[in-house]
Amino acid sequence: MGDPAASQISEAMNRLWQKFLPQMEERVATLQSATTQLANRATLTLEEQSGAAADAHKLAGVLGTFGLKEGTELAREAESLFEGPPDALPASLSRLTSITGQLKAMIADRA
C-alpha cells in the first residue's frame, strides 16, 4: 500500500496538469513566436523580449512542480537569454530554438 496522501496528490496533480496544460502550451508558444521573430528579423521588440522572458520565468517556476525538473532548467536558461542585452539575442538563436523545441516536446509527453 502506498502513502494515501502521495496517491491523492499525484492524482490531483495530474488533474491540475490537464487543467493548466493550455496555459503551459501558450507560454511555450510565446517563446516559439519570439524565436521565430528573432530568426526572421534578427531582433525583437522590447515587448516581445520582456514577454518571452516573463513566460520563460513562469515555466521555470512551475514545470518542476509537475515533475519536469529538466523543463525548469531549460526554461531558466531561456529566461536568462531573453533577459540579456538585445544585441546578444541573435547569437542565442540556435540555443533558444533548441530549448523551445525541447520544452514543447516535454510538455506534450507529460500530457
Partner: protein
C-alpha cells in the same frame, strides 16, 4: 489547524500550493491573486503565515511585504517569499527585506508543508 494565505498571480502555482498544504498537512488555505487582494485578505483572515510570490504585476512581493509590515494588523504575520529566481544575489536581496524565508520555485508538492513547518517551528 494552521491557516496559510498564498499570494500569487499565477493560478497554477496557487492551486498546486493550496492542494499541497491542504492535502498533505491538512492546513486551512486562503488564496489571493494580487498584492492588493493579499493585503486585504491578510488583515481580514489573520493567517498564521503568508506565502508571497516575488514577481507579480502591479504591487510585487517586496512591495506587498512592506505594506504588510506597515499595518499593525498584519505586521506580526510571518512571510515567506516564493521565487523562481535562483541567483544567490536575488535570494540575498529578498532575504534582506526581513522576511522569514525565501522559498525557491518549483517546489515539491509533497514536501512544501514540511519545509514551511520547519521554517516556522511548527514541527
Amino acid at each position: 489547524m494552521h491557516r496559510i494565505l498564498i499570494i500569487d498571480d499565477e493560478d497554477d502555482i496557487r492551486e498546486v500550493a493550496a492542494l499541497s498544504l491542504e492535502t498533505v498537512a491538512g492546513w486551512e488555505v486562503m488564496v489571493a491573486s494580487s498584492g492588493a487582494q493579499g493585503l486585504a485578505r491578510a488583515a481580514t483572515y489573520q493567517p498564521d503565515a503568508i506565502l508571497l510570490d516575488v514577481m507579480m504585476p502591479g504591487m510585487d512581493g517586496p512591495a506587498t511585504f512592506r505594506e504588510l509590515q506597515k499595518n499593525p494588523a498584519t505586521a506580526h504575520i510571518p512571510v515567506m517569499l516564493l521565487t523562481a529566481k535562483v541567483q544567490a544575489t536575488d535570494r540575498s536581496r529578498f532575504a534582506d527585506l526581513g522576511v522569514k524565508a525565501v522559498l525557491v520555485k518549483p517546489f515539491d508538492p509533497m514536501s512544501l508543508s514540511q519545509q514551511v513547518a520547519e521554517i516556522l517551528g511548527w514541527n
